[in-house]
Symmetry: C2
Subunit: 230 residues, 2 copies
DNA sequence: AGTTATAATATTGTCAGACCAATTTTCAAT
DNA sequence: ATTGAAAATTGGTCTGACAATATTATAACT
């Protein structure tokens, strides 16, 4: 029987967490100072500081030197840094990430059409036209491509889904991949975008997903070639 | 112009991370001691300790009192604890998590069939038979249901996909949901499982996904009823 | 020689006090 | 009322000490 002896620091961490929950502290709220904590919890400043730093590391608190301690807005930042280290130590297969992104995009289409969420078709068109313009003027095509896909995910009316999608995207961004796209393939992408919007408008899930699937095809062939070379 | 002044602790954290990368340290490897770190980095023990505790918080190191410091096996643990706090403070809509789970399961079917991964059909059948037995003998039905679905995700030959699926599942487990299932509905689930396996065997993605979609239907109606009551 | 109990050592945990650096507050001068 | 310097507050780092835990070395025994 192993009895997990818990250190003072861990006790303090739990107490602080509970304190935040019980007092319903929101992001950017001011928290107690180190001095107040040492007095109220009757532990040394060392213990308090180690607990605070630990909570800052996981994105719960934000320590401002000289300015006090605040509730952090726990977003993706911390998770991303963890994933970054995980990627650097373990190494993650690019193919796996792309497969996941495909699943996410296909899933977004399903949610949009199945739930009949309100969708700003016109806005999607405009984004895609900006995409086209970027293509013809050697502009930032990746930017508008990303906005287009991001808009679809956002439209699913599922914030958690969007958060996870962003995490995957950030994770993917760690991998530098030089998929040199020529004008022709970019134009094709533009047309596929429009075709996807059409299919959504027609509530044609199968068509939308098929087109999205095709949309992903070039990158898969690229990955396959890359894997063969190495 | 904001100049991000970086503290000594943060510098040490980065140095330690790099040290781990450069020396290719693996989980459970013994790391340097506090003493060695203070000497090599020429900083106080306070700074070293705060850096170590920070790295332990994000699941990179594991500190054993009196026994030294080790490389932790960075898995889902830390991310889960972050999501747990996120859930407790923000509150996450159950519907969103279930939608994500559906997307994942449907995606798994697509990956399995599209990639034609080797799949132990027989094993899936056996798991489902255990599921049936649990149904008829008032056994642990949830256990075998989970194993069945887990097996499908695992079969996709995509470890990252599986990891994320597990994170979602853990996240979902935080929400206690009493979906009282009667014998009849459980039997239906059993049949659907088998139908999904059949469809996979026939490479019939549409059929597999349609059945999986139906499989999720009861929980969605349950959620909808719950939302209406509150 | 091999095993076991004990002592010595090494390592992390906690404490106290001091001083530095950054920020916020106070308050006098304008 | 505004500004700007001084004071107070707050977090950052350092040192040294002792406690609690784990590991290693030693001694005793079979």
């Amino acid at each position: 029987m192993v009895i997990q002896k818990t250190s003072l620091v861990n006790i303090v961490i739990e107490k602080i967490k509970n304190y935040i929950l019980e007092n319903k502290l929101k992001p950017n709220d001011k928290f107690l100072t180190e001095k107040e904590l040492t007095e109220q919890l009757k532990v040394s400043r060392t213990v308090v500081r180690e607990a605070l730093i630990s909570l800052q590391a996981v994105g719960i608190l934000k320590i401002k030197p000289g300015g006090g301690i605040y509730i952090a807005d726990t977003k993706l930042g911390t998770i991303n840094s963890i994933l970054k280290h995980h990627y650097e130590t373990h190494g993650v297969k690019i193919r796996e990430l792309i497969e996941i992104r495909k699943i996410i995009e296909l899933g977004a289409l399903r949610l949009i059409i199945e739930k009949q969420v309100p969708l700003d078709i016109q806005q999607l068109r405009e984004i895609n036209e900006s995409y086209l313009q970027a293509i013809t003027t050697n502009g930032d095509t990746k930017k508008f491509d990303r906005i287009f896909h991001q808009s679809l995910i956002k439209a699913t009316d599922n914030d958690t889904f969007y958060d996870f999608s962003e995490i995957i995207h950030q994770y993917f961004a760690l991998v530098r991949i030089d998929l040199t796209e020529n004008q022709e393939s970019l134009i094709k992408s533009y047309k596929q975008h429009n075709e996807i919007v059409d299919a959504i408008k027609d509530n044609d899930l199968l068509h939308a997903q098929k087109t999205m699937n095709d949309h992903f095809e070039p990158i898969f062939t690229f990955i396959k070639k890359m894997e063969e070379e190495s």
